[in-house]
Amino acid sequence: MAIDKIVPTLEAAVAGVADGMTIMISGFGFAGVPNDLIEAVLHTGATGLTVISNNAGTGTEGLAALVGSGRVKRIICSYPRSKGSDHFDSRYAAGEIELELVPQGTLSERMRAAGAGIGAFYCPTGVGTELAAGKEVRNIGGRDYVLELPLRADIALIQAEKADRWGNLTYSKSARNFAPVMAMAANLTVVQARHIVPLEAMDPETIVTPSIFVDRVVHVNNDRQWDI
C-alpha cells in the first residue's frame, strides 16, 4: 500500500485538535512559523490550550492571534517579549496567561529527550537561578547540574521547505530552528510544506527530518504577507 501522508486541506491537517491539548509550534522570531496551521487551529475553536514555542507571537496574526484569542491558557517558551508581542504582554500583565519560562537550550533539549525516549537529564544551565528553583541539583564530576524532564506534546505544528508523500523534510535556512526536535516530540506531527516533491526528488544525504517523525503534510505555498 502506498503511504501518503499528504492531506488536501488545512482543516484536515489539524483534525483532532481538541480542548486542553498541548501544541508545539515551530519557528524562531518570524522564521519557520507555520502560520497557516496556527490559523487553522484557531478556526477549530479549541480552547484551554498549552502552547510550546520559542516566542509568544508578534503582530496580529499567527501565534499572536491564537494568544490574543484567549484560547491559550499556558505558554512554555524562552523569550515571550519582543517588539510587537502586545497580545502576549497584555494578557500576561493581566494574569490571563500562565508562563513557564525555560532557558532556550533546555527547551529544545527537553523536546529532544522526549523524542529520544530519555527519562530526564542533568543540565548545567540555570544552576543557582530562579529558573532552577525547586529542581533537583546534583554534583557530577565537581560541577552542579539541574534535573530537567522531557517535554512532550499532543501535536506539533511545523513548517518545512520541501516534503514528499512519506513526510521526509528539508528546511530553508534559519527557518529550520525547532522543527526537527518538535517533530520527534509530539504524538502527531503536522507539517505545512512550501513544496511537495516526488520521493525520487529527495536526496537521502540531505533529508533533515526523516519521514518516521511525520504524520501529516499539507501543501501551503502562497504569497500571503502575515502581520507578524
Partner: protein, 231 residues
C-alpha cells in the same frame, strides 16, 4: 577650589562605537555568539583581517553583516530576529545542536548585554521582576554557563544614571561569577580574581570619575589605553 571631573563631562562611545571597540578584541579564529542588544551590532564592524565565525542560537554558524536594503530573506535571521547574510563556509542546523555547541563548551566567546554585572562577575540580564515587562531568558543562561568566556557589552549606567556595575546584583541572576570582561560606553574593564581592572577609558576620563559611576572598587591597569573608535 578645584573642579571635579565627572563622567557627564566626557563623550561616551555610541552603541556602534562600543560594538566596534569590543569586536577589535575578539581573537582571530574564534567561534563567537552575539547576544541581543549592543552585541548584535558587532557583526557589522568585525575586523576585516580576521576570520571570526559567528554563531546564532536559532541554528546558524558563519553569518555575516546585515543585508543591503531589499536583499532581506525572511528565512535568514539571527537570534535577535534581525536579517543577516551568510558567509561561505556557513552552516544551518537544528536548534538543539546550536545548544550542543553552547553547553558543550564549543563556543569560544559569548558577548552578552546586561542589566547588571557584579564585581565578582555575576550577570543579571533576563528579568526585572516587573509584570508589565515579561521576562525573557532566551539563550542567556545557556551561554553564560556554556561559552568558554563571557564578555558583557552595555551602557555604563542606567537611563537614570545609576551604576550597572554593582557590588551585588539586585535583579535575579542569569549566572553567578561568569563575566570576564565588561565593555561599556566609558571603559573596558577586566573582572579578575583581584577585582576590577580598568584596561581602557574614553578620552578625558580619569579613574576617580569612572569610580563615581561604578560601585565596586576599580584599579587602573599600568598600560590603560584611551578608548576611541571610528564614528
Amino acid at each position: 577650589m578645584t573642579m571635579t571631573m565627572t563622567a557627564d563631562a566626557v563623550t561616551r562611545l555610541s552603541r556602534r562605537q562600543l560594538a566596534w571597540w569590543a569586536a577589535q578584541a575578539i581573537p582571530d579564529g574564534s567561534y563567537v555568539n552575539l547576544g541581543i542588544g549592543v552585541p548584535t551590532l558587532c557583526a557589522n564592524v568585525m575586523p576585516a583581517d580576521r576570520e571570526i565565525i559567528l554563531h546564532s542560537e536559532n541554528g546558524v554558524l558563519g553569518f555575516g553583516p546585515a543585508p543591503a536594503p531589499g536583499q532581506e530573506d525572511r528565512d535568514l535571521i539571527n537570534a535577535s530576529k534581525e536579517f543577516i547574510t551568510m558567509k561561505p563556509g556557513g552552516a544551518y542546523f537544528v536548534h538543539s545542536d546550536a545548544f550542543v555547541m553552547i553547553r558543550g563548551g564549543h563556543v569560544d566567546l559569548a558577548l552578552l548585554g546586561a542589566f547588571e554585572v557584579s564585581g565578582g562577575g555575576d550577570l543579571a540580564n533576563w528579568t526585572t521582576g516587573d509584570r508589565r515587562f515579561p521576562p525573557g531568558v532566551g539563550g542567556a543562561m545557556d551561554l553564560a554557563v556554556g561559552a568558554k568566556a563571557v564578555w558583557v557589552l552595555t551602557e555604563h549606567t542606567t537611563k537614570k544614571g545609576e551604576p550597572k556595575i554593582v557590588n551585588r546584583c539586585k535583579y535575579p541572576l542569569t549566572a553567578p561569577g561568569v563575566v570576564r570582561k565588561v565593555f561599556t560606553d566609558l571603559a573596558e574593564i577586566d573582572v579578575t580574581a583581584d577585582g576590577l581592572l580598568v584596561r581602557a577609558m574614553v578620552e578625558g576620563l580619569d579613574l576617580e570619575a569612572l569610580q563615581a559611576v561604578t560601585e565596586p572598587k576599580l584599579r587602573l591597569a599600568g598600560d590603560c589605553r584611551v578608548m576611541a573608535a571610528p564614528a
